[in-house]
Assembly symmetry: none
Homo-oligomer: 245 residues x 2
């Protein structure tokens, strides 16, 4: 069975020892190839610990996505190497919700503008063609922390009369059958100009995190061109990535 042991005399909590032990098991090719772990009752007995303590460890690893448990079946090591586990793609509303942040909408401006060179190039449409522009100032109840400017490809059919208090990608999916699939982003730091400083209640020159986002549908057709200007003091962009092996 399993040759690993744990030390009841150690100051290291049992569930931490078990967690470390399981991390080794996870690297074992046998388990990596889909072999089931011993069932909880047996494994706990074998390690000389209670099932609850064992589950403290597997809970954590399950949450981290390293183990997959299935009721009535068993527990296996998640096989991440096979190109799975692409991290989630979330809309702003979803992101905020996941963080437990209530969104307040401060401003909404809808207008039609002529495509400039960059937009014409990205959307692959003629110069000066009319494009829907959406400006939104959003943030926490205490104050706005992000100013968005979005442009949408005419193809998606937005009229400007939609209810933009709803999550944008839901509107696109449900009303316009447009699915956002791929996103390319560019993140940079800039100094606030007068316009942004006023919007975000900053002083001109204060640092701002700028996020440019290009959104494509499953057919790689451009959907949205989006600019986000975030107050530096309330926004951190986090990225988690694994190396391909």
């Amino acid at each position: 069975m399993l040759k690993y042991k744990i030390d009841h005399k150690s100051v290291v909590p049992l569930h931490v020892q078990v967690e470390n032990l399981l991390r080794e098991i996870i690297n074992d090719p046998e388990y990596r190839n889909g072999k089931f772990l011993p069932n909880e009752v047996d494994l706990a007995k074998h390690l000389g610990i209670s099932r609850n303590t064992l589950r403290q460890a597997t809970n954590k690893l399950t949450y981290e996505g390293l183990l997959i448990r299935k009721k009535g079946v068993g527990t296996v090591v998640a096989n991440k190497s096979v190109g799975t586990r692409l991290k989630n793609w979330l809309s702003f509303s979803q992101e905020m919700k996941a963080l437990g942040i209530t969104i307040t909408n401060y401003e909404l401006n809808i207008s039609w503008v002529d495509a400039d060179k960059e937009l014409s190039n990205f959307f692959r449409i003629p110069l000066n063609k009319q494009i829907l522009k959406l400006e939104r100032l959003r943030g926490r109840p205490e104050g706005p922390f992000v100013f968005f400017i979005s442009y949408f490809h005419p193809r998606v059919g937005l009229t400007g009369n939609e209810d933009f208090s709803q999550p944008l990608y839901e509107i696109l999916e449900k009303k316009y059958a447009t699915v956002a699939h791929l996103s390319k982003e560019e993140i940079s730091a800039i100094a606030a100009d007068d316009f942004l400083a006023t919007k975000l209640r900053l002083k001109p020159g204060d640092p701002i995190l700028k996020r440019k986002r290009f959104v494509f549908d499953p057919g790689s057709r451009p959907i949205e061109y989006n600019l986000g200007f975030y107050r530096a003091d309330s926004f951190v962009y986090t990225v988690e990535s694994e190396r391909e092996t």
Copy 2:
């Protein structure tokens, strides 16, 4: 106290109900501003559930970083700033090479420093333990555009006498059998202080893109803690991500 209730007759598991309930509490400005949650024993009693069940919920939220529990003190809502998670992994050298940029090394400082609270916490080592610190100023031939500060876990065995002109992750892999596997990053914008302004040849107050990078090995053990300060006018962080379906 708390006006929320849970339903013992529901098919929704109690700990899930409690979890949802706590997610609402997390939005409550009062708790967001640092008010402690009721202690576990009282809260469980008030909700009519066992302390274990309550902890099932708080465990999850703690893993997610929404709650912070402290032994002997209490539980508070984490006042985290906003984020997103995505994919992609390259070393600095690789990144630059991919962009066709020749790297120039301007400065290299190697020193041993005491672990402060953050380092001790990340590396899971005692406070004041000696760790290797690497400071590097790098950029284009025309001038530096990034200042790096790296700290390495004692476990990897770096002596400080290595040839750091070579790609770092190659040194780690080939000489020290340490493989960087997972990277968590936090990107933010800051204003240059005097020190950074001098290094990067900027004026104090100029915007800087700050990248904090946590690097782990395949066993999720911490390897490196890295800070990068990039001139805003010459660095854009790009991310590409797909949505899961």
